[in-house]
């Protein structure tokens, strides 16, 4: 198809501001959600290292715990935890958008799709907490 723009007079192209994401709360929320992936990755790596430390010699586990008690690590992990929570919540709120399920001609409400997701999340978290904390 011919590009009709070439027959039009000069037009003005605007550049998107570097700080476009500060213009609206929804944009900032989006950027924070994207950034949360870094902390999700951090948490996964930390968990893998922890599993490795637990399954290898006790001294490795001791070293890992020593490392985790460092104030800097505590601070980073609190931030990471908040971002992972944010990531999970935004993920579950996306689920009803992606799944347009209809029952008897009516679309299933959003809470009926995200609700079980949250319930599953809580159940899995409680299961893991039970395994970790029982002794």
């Amino acid at each position: 198809m011919t590009n009709p723009t070439e027959y039009l007079p000069r037009s003005y192209h605007r550049r998107v501001s570097t700080f476009w994401w500060l213009a609206r709360w929804s944009y900032l929320k989006f950027i924070l959600r994207e950034a949360s992936s870094v902390f999700v990755g951090w948490t996964v790596v930390l968990t893998l290292v922890q599993i490795w430390a637990v399954t290898h010699r006790p001294s490795a586990n001791e070293t890992f715990h020593e490392w985790m008690r460092h104030p800097l690590m505590v601070g980073v992990n609190i931030i990471a935890f908040l971002f992972v929570l944010f990531h999970a919540v935004t993920w579950f709120s996306l689920t009803p958008k992606a799944m347009a399920i209809r029952v008897q001609g009516r679309r299933v409400p959003d809470w009926a799709i995200s609700g079980p997701s949250y319930a599953g999340w809580v159940m899995v978290s409680l299961g893991i907490a039970w395994v970790v904390l029982r002794g």
Binding site: P4, P9, Y12, R24, E34, K97, R102, G105
Partner: protein, 249 residues
């Protein structure tokens, strides 16, 4: 004597200006006036050269989309009284080249729309004396997406489109999904390659602003996420199923 409100309007004359500038106008503030009424008042009383698109004045034609205080709006459906203390800043829709004043060039959208084949595709047409019967439930499957009026407010709201103009964009994907979900259509496979390209649905990062600004409640963000699921399933089918089964729509 009516109250008055200041309207700041973005002006750009391609023959004279290097970049847009803002002009201010003092207009009457009537409770029943929409932003478009103020623009027409300015054109009639202050500056006849002010250029903007409009047609139906009832939120159907999708011509009068502009940025009102930084938010994409149909100016025929945006009441001045909602901005009562003023000033109200009117700018051309973001992310599109400005042709003049408040008029933008939406050719990029129109070309992408044509590429997504937004029409009913049939492998074989039925004889003229046979009908394409559709139940209310089948209509409901796609009705929401059929409400799109091509106003492209969603493109002005989408930062991804602003940063990467290759992105197919919200309305085109929502309209393609409208036909994919139509029980009379058999063109989903033809649209799959276009929509599941990297610059198609996968370009969407789910900011969600397209759905927020849509004046017809089309929910393009929902359409894109649903189509991501469909495309992922199609990819899985292509990987798992034998060739014959893959060719099924």
């Amino acid at each position: 004597m009516a109250n008055r409100i200041t309207i700041e309007v973005s002006r750009y004359n391609p023959a004279r200006d290097d970049e847009p500038r803002m002009d201010s106008f003092d207009v009457p503030l009537y409770e029943e006036w929409v932003v478009l009424d103020a623009l027409n008042y300015i054109k009639d009383h202050f500056d006849g050269s002010l250029t903007f698109r409009w047609s139906c004045r009832m939120g159907v034609c999708g011509s009068c989309g502009m940025m009102v205080n930084g938010v994409p709006k149909l100016t025929c459906a945006t009441f001045l009284s909602d901005y009562a203390s003023g000033p109200v800043r009117i700018e051309p829709m973001r992310h599109f080249p400005i042709l003049r004043d408040l008029v933008v060039d939406t050719s990029d959208f129109l070309m992408k729309l044509a590429r997504s084949k937004p029409w009913i595709i049939r492998k074989a047409e039925k004889p003229l004396d046979e009908e394409y019967v559709q139940t209310p439930a089948q209509l409901e499957e796609y009705r929401q997406f059929s409400m799109c009026i091509n106003c492209v407010l969603c493109y002005a709201a989408c930062p991804i489109y602003g940063l990467d103009s290759q992105f197919t964009g919200p309305a085109v994907i929502a309209l393609a999904q409208r036909y994919n979900l139509d029980s009379r259509d058999e063109g989903a496979r033809e649209r799959l390659d276009i929509l599941s390209a990297p610059e198609g649905i996968w370009g969407c990062r789910f900011v969600g602003e397209c759905t927020q600004v849509c004046p017809k409640h089309v929910d393009p963000a929902g359409a894109i996420q649903q189509y991501k699921l469909t495309a992922a399933m199609e990819w899985l089918k292509a990987m798992v199923l034998p060739r014959g089964a893959k060719e099924q729509p």
